[in-house]
Every structure is written in structure tokens, then in C-alpha cells.
Amino acid sequence: MLELGPLLSRAFQALQSWVILHGVPPLAAWILAKAIQVGVLVLLVSLVPMVLVYAERKVAGFMQARLGPMNVGPYGIFQTLADGVKLIFKEDIIPVGSDRLMHIMAPMVVVSPVFVCFAPVPFGKGLIPIDLDISVLFIFAISGISTIGVLMAGWGSGNKFSMLGGLRGAAQLVSYEIPRVLSVVPVLMVYGTLSLKSIAMGQVGLWHGFLPKWFIFYPFIGQLAFVIFLIASVAETNRTPFDIPEAESELVAGFHTEFSGLKFALLFLAEYAYVFLSSAMAVALFFGGGDGFTLGGWIPSWFWFLGKTFAIVFLFLWFRWTFPRLRVDQLMQFCWKFLLPWSIVNVGLTGLMILLRK
């Protein structure tokens, strides 16, 4: 009824045929169609951080016995918009003694992979921009490029604190990438595919008539995989308790100390977009994507997907406002001595389970 996917694809086809009827070559029409898709996606991905920033402020406010933004618009809902406008008009400062080219390129390198990463995310029935066969691997691979941007930002600022932040960021991101990828391997083994859409589709249905067939409900392996994935994702997005690259009490603001205006906004946007991406991935991998178990027929799948995603985003916000920050060596120990062994154990357990099933 309210499913957007079929509606959109029908509208799309109508548009395409109308354009071709009016003498536009099919290739141009195809490019136009893709351009519209990309435009919508980029717009959505840019809007999501604005929502998240507002949510973060409100959640923080309620956790800290205060109100959060209240002045711009009712309950301050336009606060992020105002901030965005402010950031756009702010002076863009490139410090003397910095590597100018790296300083300018860093925010672009950080932010552009995010948009690409959203391409294979199944937002709901028929709402998947591009169904890649290797979408899980694709997202991990592309999001790794952002790390280069963090390093470039740290290097290009010509500031010791930025440099330290960049170094810490690189070490942390590379380390946590490994348990993060390994934590997803059990899911891939169970569903036998690398496509997020197929994984999400594989989780539709109920066990014993009441328990959804989501991966998280696989005994032990599901929960363990999800916990490792969540922790590693928090670390990948540089948020508390793993916000060591930008630890404000130690490194001022880490790798984005020297960024202002739009460049800072881009770095900020990337952080929140990655939070959203990680949550969306977690939903597709562990929570059945757009599957709405018993109520599935009543509420559209995209609504389910977004609802679950924001529930996981809330976890991210919750962590940030309750935990202190780890020290660098503790962070590394936690990754290499706790997360990594357990994620490997989880892969083994999953293999055992698959063998036993056969």
C-alpha cells in the first residue's frame, strides 16, 4: 500500500519512456535516469546527518538533564539548518605551514566514499539503488578510503595535535576494520551471499510462528556477531568511547582541529553519514532489513528499515553520552585481544553450526 519501491520504479519507467518518446537517445535517457537516482541518494545522504545531529543534541540534552536546542523553530528543529548555513558562510582558514593541497583534498576524500557506500543499501522493497553481488565487501572496501582522508587531514594541517589525531585515527581504523569484517563473515556463511539485499531477504519469515528469522536470533553466534559489529562500528566512526582521534581533552579536536567552515561541515557530515551507514548495515545484516515480522503487511518495509536503523543510531548516541574515553593502548588491546579472537571463534562456531545442520 505504502510501499515506495514499486511506485517509484513505475514513475521512473514512465519518465524514461516519455523522454525516449520525445526523441532523446536511449543512452542519454539511461544516463539521465542514473543521474536522478544518484541525485536523490546524495540528497538523502546529506539530509540524514542533519537529522542525526539534531537527534544527537536532543538525546544528549535529555541525558544531561537539559533541553538541547530550543530556539530555532519549534523545539529547535531548524537548529541544524541554521548551523549548516553558519558553517557555509564561515571563513575557510588554511593554516600557514600546512600542506595546502592535502588540507583542501582531505574533507573531499573523507566525505565522497560515504555517498558511494549507500548505493547497495536495501532501504526497503524495491528501494535499492544498485543491487551489487558483493555489496558487503563493496561497502567495507569503499569506506576504507575515508581513512586515507583522515590521514591527509592530520598531515595537511601542519599541526602536532592534528598529526597525532591522524596517526591515532589510522591505527584505530585499520585495527577495527578487521574484527568488523570478520564479525560479518558468519552472516555471509549462513546466507551464502555477499549481497545485502539477498541477506535481508533471507531473513524474512518466522521461526515457530513468533520469532523473526533475523540473524540476531541465531543462538549465541548472532548476538556475538552483532555485538562485535556494533563495537567495531562505533570505533570505525570515531565516536566515544573510541573517539581517540578527536579526543577533545587531549588533542583539542584531533585531525579536524584546523578545519573550519564548509570543510569542517563535510568532515562532520561524513561522521554522521557513517553512523547511519553502520546502523543501516547492521539492520540489513542482523535485523532482517525491511522485514516487519507480524506487522509486516501493515507498515511499509522502508518504514521498518528506517525505524530499526534509527533505533541502532540511538545506541550510538547513547554510548557517546555515557561512556568515558579509552586510552590508546587500551583501545588497541581491546581490539586485538578481545574482539579479534572472539570474532574468529564466532566464524568457527558458525562453520560448526552449518556442518551440523547438514
Partner: protein, 406 residues
Amino acid sequence: MIGKVIRSVKITLPNPIGTTNPLMANSTSLPTIAPEVFPQQAPANGMFISLGPQHPSTHGVLRVAITTDGEVVTSAQPDIGYLHRATEKLAEKRTYPQIIVLTDRLDYLAAMTNNWSYCLAVEKLLGVAIPERADYLRIIVGELQRIASHCVFLGTYGIDIGAFTPFLIAFGRERERIIDLFEEICGARLTYNYIRIGGVMADSPDGWETKVSKFVKEMYGRIDEYDTLLTYNPIFMDRTKNVGKMSQEMAVAWGITGPNLRATGFKADVRKDDPYGLFSKMKFDIPVGKQGDCWERYWVRIQEMRESLKIIEQALAAMQPGETMGKIPKTFRVPAGEGYGHLEAPRGDLGFYIVSDSSPSPYRMHIRAPSFINLQVLQVLLKDWKVSDVIAILGSIDIVLGEVDR
């Protein structure tokens, strides 16, 4: 490390100090903790880091120059004086009552105890007795001030370690209420000028005492909340336990006072050792730590807040209506001589040494500022710790730059 979760297990630390002094009284060896001159250049394979004066974790305009060998601090030299206002010189040009205003600006997070300490010294010189009600009011505001000050410490220390929420809870909720109480009694929220020579500025307004006792009752629960939020948080404990350890010998030799000294297990408190006001009538414990690490410095402060609440309750119960100002003329001359008054401020032993030549203003006033004296131990305390521990150690010493630079 994350594995060993200690949650809501109240750790009771036995008091290792009985009546014997831990410092071997007959030892003739010198303490081997003489600092070294700060090297002018970074070591060959090390780095030179200038932390501050504009840095979010130096709690004001403090600069700490650090040289490192890899991650390890090889030498640290705090650089102060950015906030120097020459209070001691200014005092020589002002009359005695006017100086109270200056003392407000020293430790601006604990202005009440500054006023009190100064007034103690002047009252010693004058030899006046102050009314009982004034003494009780002083105890109440003094202990409230201690709680407020420790609330700021708790919050800012949380931020240093990366937890933002305790700051807004402790600073924005509980301290705010204490400040409201202060505003009601003296009209000011930060620089109170409430405790005057010979008594206090004004009696408490109607209903103030019930408000205080209501606050005290609620505050017990709030401190338990801090325990769940920060004190026993495993990450917080990982960051602060066994970090920045200070031995008793070292602490005493460096003149450390207050919670920092007590965290080493040394039972020293001016309120007990050299009771002033009516503290000899009050029943309270001195919480002490064991090994003087960052976590215990923090923990001692949390426990102290509980003890302060007990003192306030006792003072409220014992307080009778009466005069709040002794018989002090509007203008007076202090007899010539010298006097030293000190008390247990939130940051340690705060004292005023006043030399008078029977003129309306002191001939010389020296402030024994606990933050200033506690800060210098950083020269040796930071050594051999990792760079990321610097913030944890610096924050746990709890300095106020207004008092360091005076």
C-alpha cells in the same frame, strides 16, 4: 581489561595509617625526588609538546611543557603566571574588609572558603570571638562550597577522561542548586564576599535552612548516581586506576594537601588536626585512599562530599537563632604583629599569613595557595607516564589557575 567489570561494588579501603607516621621519622636519607631542570631542547628521538596555554584540558591558562621519548614523558614543566593579578601586592593598598573581595577571585570555584580563611587570619590578629550562629553558618556554606567545588571537579574530570554527561549533571544540576542557595543568602553566585571579619554578612533568609536540608537529603542519592555514572564505570577505572601514583613520602615532601594527600592514605585534614570554627564539635570521617592514584584522588573527593553532607546536617541541627556578626567597628586598625590562619579548602590547606603594622591595611599578606603548591608536583609526577595519562593526572590534581597565579 573490559572483561573485569566491577559494578556497584563499594570498595571499602582500610585506613592504613594509625597513629604512626609513615615517614620513617629516624631516616636520615634525603627524599630522592629532586626535580631536574627542564631541558631546553627535545631529546634526540623524542618530541616536545606544549600543552596549553590554550588547551581544553588545562583548566585555565596553564601551559605544561612536556618532552617525550616515544609515548613516555621524560620531563614536564608546568608554566604558570598567565593569570597573575598580584593579589598580595594589591592587598597592601586596601583596608582589611576590602581584601575579602580580592580573596573571592583566588579560587573562584570555592570563594566561600577563601573568605573564611582570610577572615580566620584577621580574626586571629584582632583576637575577636565570633557569634555561634555565624560559625555554624560558616560551616554550612563552607561545606556546601566544598560539595560545589567537588562537583566541578567531578564534571571536568569526566570531560578529561571523555565522559561529557557527568559534567552537565554535576555542574549543571547539583552545583546550580548550591549556587542558588548561596545567591539567596548573599546575593552573589560566584564571588560571594559573604564571610566577613567577625561573622557573616547576613543571617540566612527565612526557609533557607529547610531548603538546605532538603538539598542535603537529595544529594546523597545524587552522589550514588555519580557512582553508577562515572566512579565505578569500568572504562573510567581503567583509565585512572594505577595511573599517576604518588607515595605518601613524596606527597608530604612536596607539600601536597587536601584530597590529593588523603588519596595516598595519609590521614591529614586541617578540620581535624587544627580545628577551626566549630569543627571540633562535628563528627565526620576523613576518607583516605591507599596508593594515591588518579582514581583514588577522585574517589576521596566523592567520599568527602558525603562527609560534608553529614557535617551540614549536624550544623543545621545544632544551629540556634542569634547574632551573626561580632562587635566589629566599621573601620578598625589591626594591632601590629603577624598571624597565620588556615583551613581545609576544597583543594587543600589554604592559609593566609598576614603581617600588620597597625595601619588600616596589612603590611604584607602571603597566601598559601594549595593549588599552587599541589601543581608543582607535576614536575615529577608526570614523568614516566604515557602522554595520554598526562591529562588524567593533571585533571586529578584539581587546580584552579586563579589560585595558582593569584
